[in-house]
Amino acid sequence: MTMRGPGFLDQLDAAVPAAVVGRNLEAIDPWIEVAPERIVDVCAWLAKSSPVRFDSLQCITAIDWLETDPKKAAKVTWQPHTEMVYHLWSTSARVSLVLKAKLPRWKSDVPGELPEIPSVCGVWRGANWHEREVYDLSGIWFTGHPDLRRILCPEDWEGYPLRKDYEMPLDYHGIRGR
C-alpha cells in the first residue's frame, strides 16, 4: 500500500489531468472534489487502471445545499448548490475513497431543468439503480444512463422529495398527502 495519501492523488492527477478541483484530506472521511464533467474519466481510472482498484461503488448521494428558512439563509456561507458524493470501495486493498462533485441546483439556474452529471454505469454496472434512486429522490439527470426512470416513487410522481424546497403534494390520485 505504498500508493496512499497524497501520493495516490498525484497519480490520479497525472492520469486524469485537471480533474481534481478540490480536496480535504483532514476530514473524518477525506475526500477529493472532481469536476462533474470529468467524473467518468476519474472513475474509470480508479476502477480499471489505478494501483488501488476501486472495483466497487458503494453509494451515490446527492446533497441539496439550500437553506429554505430566510433567517438562516442569511447566515450561511455557501451558495445554494447540489453536491454529489460517491463512496468507492476496493475489495482487494480494502480501502475506501470519497469523491465529491458540485452541481448547480438547477441546470443553468432555470428551475425545473435538472442538473446533469455523466453516468458512471459504464464503469460499475451496479451504479444503475443508485443513479436511478438519486434521480428519483434528488432530481439529478445522469447523462448516458441506459434506463433513467423513477425507482422508488411511482412513475407519475411529481417533484424530488429529497430537495430541501420539496413540498409534499396535497393529493395523489385521490389519496390525501398532507
Binding site: 458503494q58 453509494c59 458524493v85 480494502r94 475506501s96 454496472r125 439503480w129 425507482i151 416513487c153
Partner: protein, 402 residues
C-alpha cells in the same frame, strides 16, 4: 431485444417456439418476501428477462431523518431491516459516533457485539426458513421460527420489544441487561447448537434442495463486486470480505480481541472450525447453495461470537454509560460508515451542519444492491428458479424501499 436474446448464450432455443409472455410475480406473491414485484418475460417456462419493480414500501426515511435529531431517527432504522433491527441501530449509532468521535464504554461495546450477533442468528434463521419456503418445503420455516422466537424472547427481556428494538442507540445502549439474562442466553445456545444439524439435514444436504440450488443463479466474483453486493451474497461468490474485519476502525475496534473466521470459501474449502457438511459435488462457487451455506456458517460463527461476548461482557465491571442526549449537537462535517449486517454491508452517510438535526441522511442498503443483480442471475433460468435465486439473495423490502 431479439438481437440481444440471440446473442445471449444462456437462452436455449426450441423448435417449438411459443409466444413471449409478460408475467407479474408480485407484489402480492407468496415468495417475493414482502412487496417486491418482478416482471418476468417468459417463453414457456424459460425466463428471458426479470425486472424488479420496487418502492411499494417507500416512506422516504431519509427525508424524515432531515427533520429529526440523530437519536430520534433510531426507530426509523429499526424499520429498515426489521429482521435485524439491532444491527441497523448499531450502524446508525456508529455513524453518528464516528462523526462525533465518541467512544462508548467497554461494557457497552461487548454488549453491542453480543446483541447484534444474536440478532444476526435470528435474521439468518428467517432467511434460511423462508428460503426453504421458496423451494416448497414448509417445515424448516417453522423450525427456524421456533428458535428465532427464543431469541426474540431474550430481546424482549432486554429492551421490551420483539421486532423494532431501538436498543442500541447513539452513545451506548438504552439499558443494561436484566439479571439472569446471560444464563438464559447460554441455555438458548446450548439448546440451539444441536438443532443446526437438523437444518443441515432438512435443507443444506437434502438431495432435492441441492438439486434446486446447486449451479443455479451463479454469480461470479467480478459480477458481485461490480454490483456492490455484500454480505453472504458476496462471500457466497468467494470474495473474502467482512466489514467486521475489514471495515473502518471505529467498527473493527468493536471486535478487537474477538476470534472469528470469515465464512467464505478460500482455497477451495470453507472454515473447518466446526463440523459442517461437505460441499455437494455439483455446487459451484457463487450459486444459490453457496449463498445459503455461508448464512448457515455465519449462524455458527455468530454463536461463537455471542459466547465470547458474554464472557467479556460479564468480565467488565464498569458502568454501561449513558447514551447521548436527544439534542446533543453534532460537529459540522460528514461521515460514512458501513457495518456488516446480516444481509450485507449497511452504510449510513450523515451530513451535519453543526446542529443536532442532520442536514442530510443517507442509508445505503445492502439488499438494494443485492437485488439489483437479480436480473443478471435470472436471465435464462426457469420460472421455478426465480424464487430460488431471489430467495438466496435474502432481501428485506423494508431496507430496499426505505
Amino acid at each position: 431485444m431479439a438481437q440481444m436474446l440471440d446473442d445471449d448464450p444462456r437462452i436455449i432455443e426450441f423448435d417449438v417456439r411459443t409466444d413471449e409472455m409478460l408475467v407479474n410475480m408480485g407484489p402480492q406473491h407468496p415468495s417475493t418476501h414482502g412487496v417486491l414485484r418482478l416482471v418476468l418475460r417468459t417463453d414457456g417456462e424459460v425466463v428471458s428477462e426479470v425486472e424488479p419493480h420496487i418502492g411499494y414500501l417507500h416512506r422516504c426515511a431519509e427525508k424524515i431523518g432531515e427533520n429529526l435529531t440523530h437519536r430520534q431517527w433510531i426507530p426509523y432504522t429499526d424499520r429498515m431491516d426489521y429482521l435485524a433491527a439491532m444491527n441497523m441501530n448499531l450502524g446508525w449509532a456508529l455513524a453518528v459516533e464516528k462523526l462525533m468521535k465518541y467512544q462508548v464504554s467497554e461494557k457497552a461495546r461487548h454488549l453491542r457485539v453480543l446483541i447484534t450477533e444474536l440478532n444476526r442468528i435470528a435474521s439468518h434463521l428467517v432467511g434460511m426458513g423462508a428460503y426453504g419456503l421458496d423451494l416448497g418445503t414448509f417445515s424448516p420455516f417453522l423450525y427456524a421460527f421456533r428458535e428465532r422466537e427464543k431469541i426474540l424472547d431474550l430481546f424482549e427481556e432486554a429492551c421490551g420489544a420483539r421486532l423494532t428494538y431501538s436498543y442500541i442507540t447513539v452513545g451506548g445502549l438504552t439499558a443494561d441487561l436484566p439479571a439472569g439474562w446471560l444464563a438464559k442466553c447460554e441455555a438458548f445456545l446450548e439448546q440451539f447448537e444441536p438443532i443446526i444439524k437438523e437444518y443441515h439435514a432438512l435443507l443444506t444436504t437434502n438431495a432435492i434442495f441441492v438439486k434446486r440450488t446447486a449451479n443455479i443463479g451463479v454469480m461470479s466474483r467480478e459480477l458481485a463486486i461490480e454490483y456492490g453486493c455484500s454480505g453472504p451474497v458476496l462471500r457466497g461468490s468467494g470474495v473474502d470480505q467482512d466489514m467486521r474485519r475489514d471495515g473502518e476502525a471505529i467498527y473493527t475496534a468493536m471486535y478487537d480481541g474477538y476470534a472469528f473466521e470469515v465464512a467464505v470459501m478460500k482455497n477451495g474449502h470453507y472454515p473447518r472450525d466446526h463440523d459442517y457438511p461437505a460441499v455437494p459435488a455439483d455446487a459451484v462457487l457463487g450459486d444459490c447453495w453457496h449463498r445459503f451455506f455461508v448464512r448457515m456458517l455465519e449462524v455458527v460463527q455468530s454463536m461463537d461470537l455471542v459466547r465470547q461476548a458474554m464472557d467479556r461482557y460479564s468480565a467488565c465491571k464498569g458502568p454501561l454509560g449513558e447514551p447521548l442526549k436527544l439534542t446533543e449537537k453534532m460537529p459540522a462535517g460528514d461521515a460514512y460508515l458501513e457495518t456488516e449486517c446480516p444481509k450485507g454491508q449497511m452504510g449510513f452517510y450523515l451530513v451535519s451542519d453543526g446542529s443536532a438535526i442532520p442536514w442530510r441522511v443517507r442509508a445505503r442498503s445492502s439488499s438494494f444492491s443485492n437485488l439489483a443483480v437479480a436480473h443478471e442471475l435470472c436471465r435464462g433460468c426457469l420460472i421455478a428458479d426465480v424464487p430460488a435465486i431471489v430467495g438466496s439473495l435474502d432481501i428485506v423490502m423494508g431496507e430496499i424501499d426505505r
